[in-house]
Amino acid sequence: MLIRRRWEALTEVAIELLIRLCGISAILFVFGIFFFVFREGSGFLFHGFKFLEFFGSTEWYPTSQSHVRYGVLALIAGTASVTALAMLIAVPFGIGAAIFISEFCGSRLKETLKITIEMLAAIPSVVWGFIGLTLMNPLIMKLFGAPIGLNVLNGGLILALMSLPIIVSVGEDALKAVPDSYREAALALGVTRWQLVYRVLLPAAKNGLLAAVLLGVGRAVGETMAVLMATGHAVKIPASLLDSVRTLTATIAAELGEAPVHSEHYQVLFIIGILLFMITFVVNLTAYLFVRGIRGK
């Protein structure tokens, strides 16, 4: 009897420990990843890393024999241009769709739309890249007469479609979080549906909507496979939408396999990883602070 009771107490403790471990594992993983990425890049980061060249130069010649340059300005410009175009398309469509789903459509259409949009989120990124490569590429060449269809426009459109689901679903949640009493009060004052959306709901949900946009940005900045396949892989600052570019993420994906382990090139790729980590961290943190802003009210 005594043994059995002790056994029960022991399993209780063990289970509690296990659950606790599950809870904090996410933090451990994130710090672990950051630690290893940092460690791989740190050797070069503290010895011989030229800060100015890294951020100020567009010359990316990591494997050159005589003229090694590690300038990521063009890569940053690539990521920024593709992300900016994606947001330019995805934000109005995404917020518009969120407004429509939350305020204007019937319950059956609402369910259908939500399921469809969530399916959009489930498409693997390599499939998106494939669409960019085989479908959009010839289409863009034909429509715009561009020499090649793998460019900012192509990558931006693909990324827009990829970040749309998160903008729509988080945006819709933000609108849903506006108390119905606001809607009733405003409608009873004789405002039209559009006035209600524009004057009451959007201001009331603005933090949540901003968080939706920032999460979309984070998605777009971090995306790798699709942009690797769709943007044409040319290291340069784009002058137009029809120029090919290369993003930070695509550079890591394309070159890491060929860089000798612990070489300078290898370490610089990890430094790019740190840079990406910091960008997405700042974006996500901002989004989080905005979301907390809504709850706090």
Binding site: E184, A186, L187, A188, G190, T192, P203
Partner: protein, 255 residues
């Protein structure tokens, strides 16, 4: 009390169903111009639904089916072309004060602005007048720019009354306005209503039976979606109203 002027609101054989659940089962009543009509009844008796049919916000309730007629100033509300103009004719105050997430000034100026009033002086005058009518002006005149939602519950409720008056309604509907505020503030608002009743028609749905007794000229008693009795308040609250149930409810025997 018998007036020859036509009633401002006429409700005839009004049925409202939410899906399978009947909320109103054939209500017929009228509201006279510039009276306070009290509506009493226990929860779920259809009081709020009745108000919603008058300004047609029932349209936004999913699954609500309305039959019968509601006329405002002789016109069937369901044949009104401009529902927004109809709603501006009616001020509505909800049970829990709903300050829109705007400044005090903007809360009151909201409806006039939406109706197209742009002139700043006109807006300022109107805001002041409405806040004065709602007995709130002296408390907030120095901080019109602060958020309406930061006011106390009683102040917010007066803010919603000011807002309900901001589009010069002819009918003011109050739906259990005192449910979330203290007795002192309730009395202040009741004084405001006594002020207003000379100029405006008031429909006062109330959970406080004595409030109807204090304010209303006539009182209607709703029970389970049916109109049990509508009569002069003195009669409703007397020892022998027309219906036994009225007596029992008013005297707290059930409800």
């Amino acid at each position: 009390m018998v007036t020859s002027a036509p009633p401002i609101v006429e409700v005839a054989e009004l049925h409202v169903r939410y899906g399978r659940c009947a909320a109103l089962k054939g209500i017929t009543l009228d509201v006279r111009r510039n009276e306070i009509l009290g509506i009493i009844g226990p929860a779920q008796s259809g009081k709020t639904t009745l108000l919603k049919t008058i300004n047609r916000t029932i349209d936004d309730v999913p699954g609500a089916v309305v039959t019968g007629t509601v006329k405002v100033e002789g016109k069937d509300v369901r044949q009104v072309e401009d529902v927004f103009a109809l709603r501006r004719k009616i001020g509505m105050v909800a049970p829990l004060p709903v300050g829109l997430p705007l400044s005090i000034f903007d809360n009151v100026a909201f409806a006039p602005r939406m109706a197209g009033v742009r002139n700043r002086r006109e807006l300022a005058e109107r805001v002041e007048r409405c806040l004065r009518q709602a007995a709130l002006w002296d408390e907030v005149k120095d901080r019109l720019d602060s958020l309406g939602t930061k006011l106390s519950g009683g102040q917010q409720q007066r803010l919603t009354i000011a807002r309900a008056l901001s589009h010069d309604p002819e009918i003011l509907c109050l739906d259990e306005f005192s449910i979330a505020i203290d007795p002192v503030t309730t009395m202040r608002i009741e004084d405001v209503l006594k002020e207003l009743r000379t100029r405006i028609t008031i429909i006062l749905v109330t959970n406080l039976i004595q409030q109807a007794r204090r304010l209303a000229g006539r009182t209607a008693f709703l029970l389970n979606g049916e109109l049990v009795e509508l009569g002069r308040t003195e009669v409703i609250f007397s020892d022998n109203p027309a219906n036994r149930k009225t007596y029992e409810y008013v005297n707290g025997i059930f409800g």
